[in-house]
Amino acid sequence: MNLPVLKAADFASDQDVRWCPGCGDYSILAQMKKVLPELGFPREKTVFISGIGCSSRFPYYMNTYGMHSIHGRAPTFATGLKSTRPELMVWVITGDGDALSIGGNHFIHCLRRNLDVNIVLFNNRIYGLTKGQYSPTSVEGQITKSTPMGAIDHPLSPLSVALAAEATFVARSIDAHVKHLGETLKAAAAHKGTSLVEVYQNCNVFNDGAMAYAQERKQRADNIVELEHGKPLIFGAKGEKGIRLTGNHLEIVNTEDVPSDDLLIHDAHDPNPAIQMMLARMRYPEMPEPIGVLRCVEGVATYNDQINEQVTAAKAKKGEGDLMALFNSGDTWQVA
């Protein structure tokens, strides 16, 4: 079958996009529209499911099937859909509040079940839609509408939590790094099992510049390290810095001072997540923050495959269900 070749514009719905001018969400939308045609997957088999938040308006703007559900629960709708319609490509769109505050539990359970969906978590470290309260990823001491004296909760790292739930695909990208973002979304789509992509997204209205260190051209070379499977961890404008594993921790070294063999070589495919967990914990300003695919382990059974395999197996073993046989099983009697 020859599928028609689609363009980004084909993935745009007829709805007006209603984010604030300058919001990082636009760039993520643009990349998604650019990447989907490249996957060559039928539009009508593509579904976007979101929770509630600025980010969660995303499905309205995609000319695919979509559901703007309720706050925090997007992964659970996806679970019902993907378990019964495994042939669909399902994307879950969520925010830091949606996924990690009210939805934290569903997030973990989706990952541990390894449901074959792609979760894109728009992390702006704030509640955008409700106008600027702190979120579980807001930094300690952050002043927001609900924390005039500073936030006192210790922030959560979505990547750490995902790895602890034995996620099979964990990645991070940045709204402003359009190319990197596009590649990361593609890698997520290619993975069989739950793919988590955290995207640093600027909320220019309520938390402007919170991740400028990673977004801005001038600063980012020093503050982020781009992971590539099989490649050493090198960063800095001129590649002058690297990361080395020493004993039980990661440290920054000068690439001129250490032999390149000493640098940590990124292994996204390692089933043992030990190093990946260390990477997930690297935080600005002490360390550069990793972007790219931290972990991508294939071959782990997915929930949707298994639930359907049990049905197939049961049919193979017992034959297609026969209602009358079921009703008449066990003790029955006749009244004339």
Partner: protein, 629 residues
């Protein structure tokens, strides 16, 4: 299917009676539920009508020997149609003092009390918190026919040849008790022997010992001089057909499977375990070869949301819980209403509020079903009236859900969920036809309207995978027709009205309310849900006693059948018995402005027929006096 078996011949006198109510009680570990189930099945196989009421402690293994640890199973079997497990007991079997003191109150004067004498000793008195042997009380001897049987000892003797340890030998004593009960009521041993054979096929010693104990119990009845006669209950004249015994949760599960089959859909069941709904999960998960997928979610919210997700995908989707879990589903149910997708939400009600009385029955979630969501979020509600009716109402729920594209609430309760009754096996062709159709891309040239509507006000069920019908749904108010997000005031009014009208219109698609008795007169008893049997029986008794009383049992709670208003207004008094503080009553009063009077009981227990007879008689008599005066 097996033939109605005949019991082994007895040499004693046999008295024929029209029905027997017996309760078997012992410690939770004594196997009373098993015993009760066997007696029920055997009686059903003998052609009796049967009705059961299991009642067990909230604890998994409540402390042995204590009152809290008593587990009971009541069954009534009769040669005419019956609708309840009976009020007062003709016979009571007790395995220990705790069982006796907590149950003796329900034994009728002159009834038979069979006690396992070996279970009555100092240690047990202490556990049961009684001073001395309660069997020895004069009042007991005077009020009942007391039969003391050394069950433990006789069981040990009977099974000695199989070389079991005392612990295992003693476990057989429930089969000894069963044998004795079987003798007393002329039941055949065959079905239970066969059951033992299947269940213990891998442990031949235990199998043989249990069979021996059962036979020994029978032989004891036949031999001992304590019993002069046994009783016999002839087959009931039920509607012709093939029957089986069925429990409410099982019938509900089977109804869902049947609905999925007749509608040509696989079944997705998303749930989180909770008493008394969990058995639906346990039952459904056995039938994966019927295309059933069960999803044990991380919580009730995930369960209902996954159900909505599956419904969006075009699958028959169902979720179930009990009160506290249903409370958690409220927000998502509102989304279901907004998305206008078909699905079923089952609530197997239990005693509330909060965690309440989790193993007890109650009907106190009707108003939660009606109103437990934010905003104007009407939903159709159906309520089965008996264990077997759970089957029919499950099918009906799916019919309405798909015809009207609406989530439907099914209100069962612990009493019918765990109770059982003979169920006439339906023919597949008697099941209602349920057509599910999904629009295809080529259906029309016009722009596809995901919120366009048909004559039922139902929107099209367009599912992902269909080319050209791509659309987005969500919880924000949507424009009728296009389904786009809309903040337009008039559209909002229109949509609120439309969602209400869609549910109200269902009244056109359900049967009118039927009435037992005259359709006008002195007293109308209006009931719903699991109280059907008790109310019907009570009304029948009152009619037999010459009172002008009729009975309307509602199974369609929202919308109510269209003739209800007329009906209510055709009686001088309307009584509404409910196991809550008056929830249906309030709905009827609000809707029809009829001064319905409640008969309310919130004790975690079903109505006794006599309670209802008394209450109805009181009202009927007062009315007659007023008329006369």
């Amino acid at each position: 299917m097996i033939d109605t078996s005949t019991p082994p011949a007895t040499s004693k006198t046999v008295e024929t009676v029209s029905g027997i109510t017996v309760r078997l009680c012992g410690d939770s570990g004594d196997g009373m539920q098993l015993l009760g189930t066997q007696l029920t099945n055997t009686s059903a196989l003998a052609g009796n009508d049967v009705a059961t009421f299991p009642d067990f402690p909230a604890e998994i293994r409540a402390p042995r020997g204590t009152r809290a640890g008593v587990s009971g199973f009541q069954v009534q079997f009769a040669s005419q149609e019956i609708f309840t497990p009976g009020d007062t007991l003709d016979a009571l079997v007790v395995m220990n003092p705790a069982a006796m003191v907590t149950n003796i109150g329900d034994l009728r004067k002159g009834g038979i009390l069979i006690a396992n004498e070996d279970g009555f000793n100092e240690k047990e008195y202490k556990l049961a918190k009684v001073e001395s042997n309660p069997l020895d009380a004069d009042v007991i001897e005077q009020s009942y026919r007391v039969v003391r049987v050394s069950m433990t000892k006789m069981t040990r003797d009977a099974v000695s040849e199989f070389g079991l340890s005392t612990k295992f030998a003693d476990r057989c004593k429930n089969f000894f008790a069963m044998g004795l009960v079987y003798w007393l009521f002329g039941r055949s041993l065959d079905p239970t022997l066969r059951f033992i054979e299947e269940k213990f096929s891998k442990k031949p010693d235990i199998m043989n010992a249990n069979m021996a104990a059962l036979r020994a119990g029978w032989a004891y009845g036949e031999t001992t001089e304590v019993f002069g006669e046994s009783y016999q209950v002839e087959a009931a004249k039920l509607e012709p057909g093939t029957y089986r015994n069925i429990m409410g949760n099982q019938a509900l599960a089977w109804g869902l499977i049947a609905a999925s089959q007749v509608s040509g859909k696989d079944l997705f069941y998303g749930t989180y375990p909770i008493t008394p709904a969990s058995d639906i999960l346990h039952e459904l998960t056995k039938y994966k070869n019927f295309g059933v997928r069960t999803f044990q979610a991380e919580d009730e919210i995930a369960a209902v949301c996954a159900t909505i997700g599956a419904a969006f995908g075009g699958t028959m989707a169902v979720t179930a819980s009990s009160g506290p879990g249903i409370a958690l589903k409220g927000e998502a149910m509102g989304l279901g209403v907004m998305l206008e997708l078909p699905m079923i939400i089952v609530n197997v009600q239990r005693g509330g509020p909060s965690t309440g009385l989790p193993t007890k029955t109650e009907q106190s979630d009707l108003l939660q079903a009606m109103f437990g969501r934010n905003g104007e979020a009407p939903m159709p509600i159906l309520a089965p009236r008996s264990p077997g009716d759970c089957f029919a109402m499950a099918v009906e729920a799916w019919r309405i859900a798909t015809e009207c594209m609406v989530p439907v609430m099914l209100l069962s309760d612990g009493y019918i969920a765990n109770g059982s009754e003979p169920w006439k096996i339906p023919d597949m062709k008697d099941l209602p036809e349920i057509k599910c159709s999904h629009p295809a891309a080529s259906d029309s040239d016009e722009t596809f309207l995901p919120y366009g509507r048909n004559e039922n006000l139902a929107r099209p069920w367009a599912i992902p995978g269909t080319p050209e019908l791509m659309h987005r749904v969500g919880g924000l108010e949507k424009e009728d027709g296009t389904g786009n997000v809309s903040y337009d005031p008039d559209n909002h009014q229109h949509m609120v009205d439309t969602r209400a009208a869609k549910v109200a219109k269902i009244a056109e698609r359900i049967p009118e309310q039927d009435v037992f008795g005259a359709t006008s007169g002195d007293v109308l008893v209006v009931s719903w849900g699991g109280t059907y049997g008790a109310c019907l029986t009570a009304v029948a008794k009152c009619r037999d006693a010459g009172h002008d009383v009729s009975h309307a049992h509602i199974r369609y709670m929202n919308p109510l059948p269209s003739n209800i208003g007329t009906l209510l207004r055709s009686f001088r008094t309307v009584l509404v018995p409910e196991l809550n503080a008056g929830q249906l009553r309030m709905l009827l009063r609000a809707e029809y402005l009829v001064d319905c009077v409640g008969i309310n009981k919130v004790q975690g227990k079903p109505f006794a027929v006599t309670e209802l007879v008394d209450a109805i008689t009181h009202h009927a008599t007062t009315l007659r006096q007023t008329k006369a005066g």
